[in-house]
Symmetry: C3
Subunit: 290 residues, 3 copies
């Protein structure tokens, strides 16, 4: 496809993330933090917890991958410029008088732009993670996938502990139990770039980066415009799931139960998790009865 | 005893763990995971969380000791062969059609063999941990004990966080509050091998390995055959406990209370922990009253 | 001020912490552990959890800062003398017959001395943390503040996980959400010593150490003598808070609500956190209703 696209992929792969794309990433992250339930109240009575939470949202990926590779998790703080950038975005979004900045950023066109640019940074993060892991362990492709995934999904995977900073604790759910779309797509990306890096995928890295990014941005924008929430992998997942993991009697029963209760109105996961996580479920019921 | 046993201990200490003993360790670990409440449901609706949980069971020791020594906790993923081995054991035990493999492995004779071989790997893990810690800190015997213990007990000590992956959270119990037998025996082993390594114990390492392993295997098998659940250290513990820690008025009262309520039918720990861990206990009571 | 104070600051800055000040730090830490609700019961039925908890209290700062800088968190165990010192203090305070030692240490004059000396070690910890971070990252002042703070506040910042060891879990509160005085003053100290270290503060380090320590000790002793519990920074905080973070409509409402409910008798934080941390709050209400 070189002749077709010419220099474009190569030039694209040399796109600098700093400062504009980083800014967009920080803005999108802090926006999603502000839209968390109770985040605004936290921002009022303990700005430091709020700032810490925001940093976990913005730099979660690098923190997690550093922990995984036994490097200093505070390394990201050494990049003073980026931290100050993220902090000022956090300050403007949370504390700007009359929420002016928040309103401005969260109006649809700006929001689309910001979210699109954030998705671009995801590609860079994943490739960065894969290469970094490769520099530690030669051809340990599992490590490469893991670190690439951690770098790309970042905030999502440590959400339980990010919530803990804000005094929220939801043990009955985590991103491994019920993956959100960004976590899934980061995993797919990590696998692709690892395969490319270990030459199992006969594509040049800058072509892969271009097409993966286009996919990310298009899907993200489409998801935001249409209220279409189910992940584009749903079909693939179900096929793969029932092919690999579907042969177990209990699971088949669970699925059947799930279908029934789904027609009955309650979401699938609720019912399949009926027997699971005794305490948490009990708690949930308790809450309902309260 | 050299003439008596001849070459046996030396040859035994050169026994390779890979692949058969490792396989047994993975099988035993994944079996105990599958027998956790709610694990099967998890395996149905989120295989990735289940796989992650299984890896924590299989490689918990190396993960924990890496964290303690500031090394990359993902190092175990670099050993691709072992990870694939563990993963395939996990797959067969959880997703084999009609649970054939699970039924096969969990029938008593096989189970005895597997559990016995798993205990052998424990010795190797502990010695490995002690030597590894020694290579970091010369003669820091506390570190050697800690790392040896972590490597040997592994999964048990991080069980709270392993459960969190499956959406279960039981803060009111952990392996330090109420040690299980494997954790205890690993601690004893770590102490013994550290003393041997620092020459306070005038035994050759391969003799110690042989006798410690024999002890492990015999006790384990005995525990599985007879439904005898109390640890063989119970007597020693009580003696030591009341000698070292028994002189405090409150504890004496607690013990008295415990005895009473024990005759009354409720387990000791329940009553002694009466005042302790206010919230968790409240919760438990709340649940009962619900 | 050199002529005025002469050699005093310099000599003071060369004061050795080992063994007396360290001893005082261990005593004060273990005392505050023993005064935690339910700690004594734990000490009866699982001394190991209690010991581990005590070590987290005594060495929390060095553990946390090691984790942040990707160094072995067990490093503190390599300093056998200090660990044995702390352990014997722990043993005497928890298990001395008839609580003799505890009663002796917790009588006011001794307690004042011990607490005062503990505050002195705080200065040394903070300066140590700042210098140590500087040796890793040149002029990364955010890292220096973070590590200095972690080393100085230590136990407080990891309190959630220290409680977890004792089977207590209070997700709805942590030291970032609602800072205690020691955590605040450590943060201030970390900022000051970092500014001094990066030459933004034109003071010599030993002068700063002297005056910061005097401030710590005086405030601590005053707090213990008078039942005056509000932090000396309260005024400054409120001014700064309303100047920096006060312009947001929601916060103003929250503050108003807070004031009202405060006059109404319930504490501020309770009411401002009305919307926040849904679950935890629900739980708290549930408890009340129980």
């Amino acid at each position: 496809m070189e002749p077709l696209l010419g220099e474009l992929p190569l030039r694209f792969s040399r796109l600098p993330m700093f400062p504009f794309f980083d800014l967009a990433h920080y803005a999108a992250s802090v926006l999603s933090l502000k839209e968390q339930r109770g985040a605004v109240e936290i921002s009022c009575h303990s700005p430091i917890a709020c700032w810490f939470s925001a940093m976990l949202y913005c730099f979660g990926g690098s923190i997690l991958s550093s922990l995984m590779l036994g490097e200093p998790p505070v390394a990201f703080l050494a990049n003073t410029t980026n931290v100050l950038l993220a902090s000022s975005v956090w300050y403007l979004i949370f504390y700007c008088p009359h929420d002016l900045f928040y309103r401005y950023v969260s109006c649809l066109p700006i929001r689309l732009l910001v979210s699109g640019m954030k998705e671009v940074t995801r590609t860079w993060k994943i490739t960065g993670g894969v290469t970094h892991a490769h520099s530690h362990y030669k051809n340990a492709w599992i490590v490469m996938i893991a670190v690439g995934w951690a770098r790309g999904a970042g905030g999502g995977l440590i959400s339980n502990f990010e919530q803990l900073v804000r005094g929220v604790w939801k043990p009955e759910t985590n991103e491994l139990l019920k993956m959100s779309y960004p976590v899934k797509v980061s995993l797919v990306g990590a696998v692709l770039f690892t395969m490319q890096h270990t030459h199992y995928l006969p594509v040049e890295v800058h072509n892969l980066m271009l097409f993966y990014t286009i996919f990310l941005v298009v899907v993200k924008v489409a998801m935001m415009l249409t209220e279409f929430r189910t992940s584009p992998f749903a079909v693939l997942e179900n096929a793969l799931g029932s092919f690999l993991f579907g042969f177990q009697p209990v699971c088949m029963k669970a699925k059947a139960k799930a279908k029934v209760s789904y027609n009955g109105g309650t979401p699938v996961n609720e019912s399949t998790s009926g027997g699971e996580t005794g305490d948490s479920v009990k708690k949930r019921h308790a809450k309902k009865t309260e």
